[in-house]
């Protein structure tokens, strides 16, 4: 560690490589943190966790008892065991006693991406509510046609303030905070929508996964979905070979379709690409393509916006190349996934690890090889959600046992308690 710092000081290592080395070192040996307890006020399973994107300090959790809570993960409220255990109590919690609280389970709770002044909760009582954090009052209410499974806001958005909501209903609705109305209704799925994700590379692109097993890409500036992921369209490796790509590019320019390349997401060349563009509603054959057998229960776009990790009720994880729309055929080791509920997955900051709730454990997969690198056991019942805080290199997980657990690297904390906790052989 010190040598690396010295190297960095001397300029032998570049800042980026130094950073990635440190962070990967920290995130590669996560353990249940003994020094950081989050005291959960929830009386039901924790369904959603998110640390705010601006400060990386406030953890928002939504639980099945219709309660929402915010924790300060940086500063503990009290210490126990002679200062060895830091207890983080909630900064505030909204439960059913609150006048405007949800009636049924909160399925999703997300921060407004620009600051921590607002947060959004979606619930099984068909409502999406926008809350003012400081006054803990509802500032906006959206009535949805069915149970809300997942809501998302684009972390990049500068030109819109849309909440994408996946519900029991087949249509995905975009709720505009600015106007308080639904700005879009995206139809295409044939069943409820369990996951909703905004692309991390383009503020206009939305990815939704439905109970019909399809993952659809939407460009909110245009009507209809522009891509349906098909599990049978595959590519080996991370990217198509450069050679073919350049060739196709050449072809494209030859055919005079260059204008379309300016889209943030390039189109993969293929047979149907021309027709695709001509018919935004898609051909029926492509429209029926599925990404999973069964429902898509979770999806996560990597931080660089190039890959999409999806989980289905067929207990499979698939990694998709967003640009080509192909299944990359990474063979994730078999794991049993929860099938009835949407799950919230997380990826580490450098997109090296994917954290997936697998029943009672959280498994960390190597994103590129699919191997299990860690199995984090701590919950006593199924895990629903996890969130990786790239600022602290900590993982937060919430499960049906009402706990929110903190997983962090054990290295920096080898201190006082070790002395007390020793062998005790009397005979």
């Amino acid at each position: 560690m010190w040598r690396e710092i010295a190297n960095r000081e001397a300029g032998k290592t570049r800042p980026n490589s130094f950073k990635s080395r440190v962070t990967s070192g920290l995130s590669s040996d996560l353990q249940l943190s003994n020094h950081k307890d989050i005291v959960s006020p929830h009386r039901g399973s924790v369904n959603s966790l998110q640390v705010d994107l601006t400060e990386g300090r406030y953890l928002l959790s939504g639980a099945a008892d219709a309660s929402t809570a915010v924790f300060d993960v940086q500063r503990a409220t009290e210490y126990e065991g002679g200062g060895a255990i830091a207890k983080h109590r909630h900064v505030f919690a909204i439960d059913k006693q609150h006048r405007a609280a949800h009636k049924f389970a909160v399925s999703t709770a997300i921060w407004y991406p620009i600051d921590t002044g607002l947060f959004i909760t979606g619930s099984y009582d068909h409502y999406i509510k926008v809350w003012d954090t400081n006054s803990t009052q509802v500032v906006m209410n959206f009535k949805m046609p069915g149970k809300v499974y997942r809501a998302a806001m684009s972390p990049l958005a500068t030109s819109h303030m849309l909440i994408a909501a996946g519900t029991e209903d087949v249509q995905v609705r975009l709720c505009d905070i600015a106007s308080g109305a639904f700005s879009h209704t995206l139809s295409g799925h044939r069943d409820g929508v369990m996951t909703v994700e905004w692309s991390t590379s383009s503020e206009w692109v939305l990815v939704t996964g439905g109970c019909d097993g399809a993952i659809r890409f939407w460009d909110i500036r245009r009507a209809g979905c522009f891509r349906v992921l098909d599990q049978s369209r595959t590519q080996l490796g991370r990217r198509l070979p450069v050679l073919r790509r350049s060739m196709t590019n050449k072809k494209k320019t030859v055919t005079g379709n260059g204008a379309k390349q300016q889209l943030a997401l390039g189109r993969t060349p293929g047979k149907g690409s021309v027709k695709l563009r001509m018919h935004p509603g898609l051909l029926s054959t492509q429209d029926r393509a599925t990404a999973h057998y069964g429902a898509v229960t979770g999806s996560r776009v990597t931080e660089d916006g190039m890959y999409l990790l999806s989980a289905g009720s067929d207990s499979r994880l698939r990694l998709w190349d967003i640009e080509s729309g192909c299944n990359t055929l990474v063979n994730f080791e078999t794991a049993r996934l929860q099938t009835s509920k949407p799950i919230q997955m997380a990826t580490s900051g450098d997109s090296r690890l994917a954290f997936v709730p697998c029943m009672t454990a959280v498994k960390a997969f190597d994103l590129w090889s699919g191997e299990t690198s860690m199995v984090l056991r701590g919950h006593y019942e199924n895990v629903n959600c996890c969130w990786f805080s790239s600022q602290d290199q900590e993982l937060y997980t919430g499960g049906n046992d009402r706990q929110i657990l903190v997983w962090s690297s054990s290295k920096p904390h080898e201190d006082v308690s070790v002395a007390e906790d020793g062998d005790n052989w009397s005979d």
Partner: protein, 664 residues
């Protein structure tokens, strides 16, 4: 690596051996061996953790239970073991507490409940001692407690509560003592005066009495001088001295009655009130905790002086021979004190052979004669057997009076009852003279109503039970072949060793001991006894039979005792056997590795023994199958067969899809 493998061979069989038992605890030797092995080798420790977790998965609660006990032992000792096990704590809890519905605890339900309660108890213990260091333990504890709402024994809390209660109690008693001390401090001077006054008065009374005594003594001495020549005989002299001594005692008569009464009164006051209160204060002073130790010491000293003084006076009173009141019988309120003082009263009576005890004895004798008249049969039968049970002091006193002693010898001891209440008087009783007014609306009351004496006697007729004299039947005590003596108790003939004859400690017959050969001895003894048998009259036999029937209760008790002994002996034998087996195992384990022929042998032995043990483990699991069960089983089988066939055909394509989704 090789070493690790080598070491690995050691701990695994030990643990398996330890968990392969039906006992409710781990064999202490094996446990010790496990601890010793694991203590010095991390490799062994890891292996032990692995083995224990594997054993936990066995489908038998007994195995899990014993493994849990070992886990606890190691958990409380080794840090490495803790850190290994904590990672799998959820698994461990699932397997031991069985909180998951799809993973209930396995078969013997009795052991399963113990296992569960023990696991919960251990978790609590671990949480209290290591919860700070391991988040997992805290989590598990919290989950079981707050989510599943299992009842934890809360040992520590209880202990703290009990401690608290005890402390409070102590505080309270201390407070009371302090209060007592304060009152004592206030009252001491007045009490002192009172006691002193009483003592002084007693002394004065005694002085008066002793004055007379001296006078009389002088006169006696004169007499003695006068008659010295007349009585030369030693015995006569002795008698005379005795009588003189008797005469020395001051007897109560009309002129000194007042003095005696006062003395008695004062004595009573002294003994019943002052002495007791002084003793109480002393104990208070000893127990109380005060800062002023000097004051306490001085007070204590004073009180002890007082006590000694009182005792001295008491003794003096007793010696002086004045008739002293029987204190406790004078209607004290506390029953316990009555009991307690009994002995004291007797001693007083013994030392002072004065008028009153004599009177008492006389009345007793009189009553006994009455009893004889009334119920001669009882008297006769009981007299001899109970004679020697007469209280010592009575006997001693009786010695002085030959007539009374003779009477006493004859007197029966009656069981206590209401009939003793009006023993002597043979007269009518007034029915309506009980100190209460019976004038009421029921009509006029006849105050002169009389219950005739005959009627009273009839009402008070005391019934007594005939008690059979208990006879100890001698054991046969013939020498047994396996050593020891025959413990059978038969009246005449032992079915194994012939007639019962007196024998010495080694079992040789005492009668024929002079002859040289044992066989002949026994033969002659047999003949002899046979002869004796012939001689025995039928009458005697019948009597004996009756007695035998009566003693059946006794025989039963004896038999039970014998059985108990036998069981105990069997148990001991079993324990010995087991100990030997364990020793053998320990020896095998301690030999370095299972090398060569010996090792193979050992393994064979181990396997065979484990096989035999496994039988017992399995037998714990085996359910009792009834006819109903068998029928339902058969029905189920046919149903299940159909179901599986249907399922198989149905699930074929689905399975295919599941199995090969990535192949295309």
């Amino acid at each position: 690596m090789d070493e690790a493998e080598d070491g690995g061979g050691k701990i695994k069989p030990l643990i398996e051996k330890a968990t392969d038992s039906t006992a409710a605890y781990v064999e202490p030797r094996l446990l010790k061996a496990i601890k010793c092995t694991v203590r010095y080798s991390d490799v062994e420790l890891r292996l032990a953790a692995q083995t224990l977790m594997d054993l936990m998965k066995r489908d038998h609660s007994q195995v899990r239970y014993l493994s849990l006990l070992i886990v606890d032992e190691l958990f409380m000792r080794s840090k490495l073991f803790r850190s290994i096990l904590v990672e799998k704590l959820d698994q461990l809890l699932t397997l031991t507490v069985g909180f998951k519905r799809n993973l209930p605890l396995p078969a013997p339900p009795s052991v399963a409940t113990i296992l569960r309660s023990k696991a919960i108890e251990f978790l609590e213990k671990w949480n209290s001692s290591y919860g700070v260091h391991y988040r997992q333990i805290r989590l598990g504890f919290d989950y079981l407690k707050n989510t599943l709402r299992l009842q934890f024994p809360n040992i520590q809390g209880n202990a703290a509560r009990i401690q608290q209660e005890r402390r409070e109690k102590e505080m309270r008693s201390k407070e009371i003592l302090q209060n007592k001390f304060r009152t004592l401090e206030e009252n001491l001077p007045s009490m002192k005066q009172e006691i002193q006054a009483t003592i002084d008065e007693i002394n004065q009374c005694l002085e008066i009495v002793t004055c007379k005594e001296e006078n009389s003594l002088l006169s006696h001495i004169d007499d003695d001088d006068d008659n010295d020549e007349k009585f030369r005989s030693l015995e006569l002299q002795q008698i005379r001295l005795n009588s003189l001594k008797e005469a020395d005692k001051v007897h109560e008569d009309a002129e000194n009655r007042v003095v005696f009464d006062t003395l008695r009164e004062l004595y009573k006051l002294l003994v019943t009130k002052h002495l007791i209160s002084v003793q109480g204060w002393i104990s208070v002073l000893i127990r109380v905790e005060i800062t002023n130790a000097r004051l306490r010491d001085s007070m204590l000293k004073e009180l002890i002086d007082f006590r000694n003084q009182i005792q001295l006076v008491k003794k003096k009173c007793a010696e002086s021979g004045c008739s002293l009141p029987a204190i406790p019988k004078n209607g004290k309120e506390e029953e316990e004190e009555d009991f307690w003082e009994e002995g004291k009263v007797e001693t007083i009576q013994r030392t002072g052979s004065s008028n009153e005890p004599k009177k008492l004895n006389e009345s007793l004798a009189e009553s006994s004669t009455c009893g004889e008249v009334k119920n001669p049969s009882t008297g006769c039968s009981n007299r001899k057997s109970e004679k020697h049970e007469l209280p010592g002091n009575l006997l001693r006193q009786a010695d002085s009076d030959p007539v009374r002693s003779k009477l006493l010898e004859k007197a029966p001891v009656m069981s206590w009852g209401s009939s003793l209440d009006n023993w002597g008087p043979n007269k009518d009783v007034l029915a309506n003279q009980r100190g209460m007014e019976f004038e009421n609306h029921w009509g006029r009351v006849d105050y002169d109503a009389v219950i005739p004496a005959g009627r009273i006697a009839e009402l008070n007729l005391s019934a007594s039970l005939y008690k059979e004299e208990q006879v100890e039947i001698q054991p046969c005590s013939a020498p047994l072949r396996k050593g020891g003596l025959c413990p059978r108790r038969d009246l005449r003939v032992c079915p194994f060793h012939g007639p019962v004859i007196p024998r010495d400690d080694e079992g040789n017959p005492i009668i024929g001991n002079t002859s040289d050969e044992g066989s002949r001895v026994s033969e002659t003894a047999y003949m002899e006894s046979n002869e004796r048998l012939g001689v025995d009259s039928v009458e005697q036999l019948a009597k004996q039979a009756v007695k035998n029937v009566r003693d059946r209760g006794h025989d039963d008790a004896r038999k039970r005792k014998m059985e108990k002994q036998l069981v105990k002996r069997a148990k001991l034998a079993k324990v010995r056997e087991h100990n030997e087996a364990v020793l053998k195992d320990a020896a095998l384990a301690s030999t370095s590795g299972y090398g060569g022929v010996d090792g193979a042998d050992g393994e064979l032995v181990a396997r065979s023994s484990s096989n035999s043990k496994k039988e017992t483990l399995a037998s714990m699991l085996r359910p009792k199958i009834t006819r109903k069960d068998r029928l339902s089983q058969r029905l189920l089988n046919t149903k299940a067969k159909d179901a599986t066939v249907r399922q198989l055909t149905q699930g074929e394509d689905a399975k295919y899809r599941e199995a090969f989704p990535n192949q295309w």
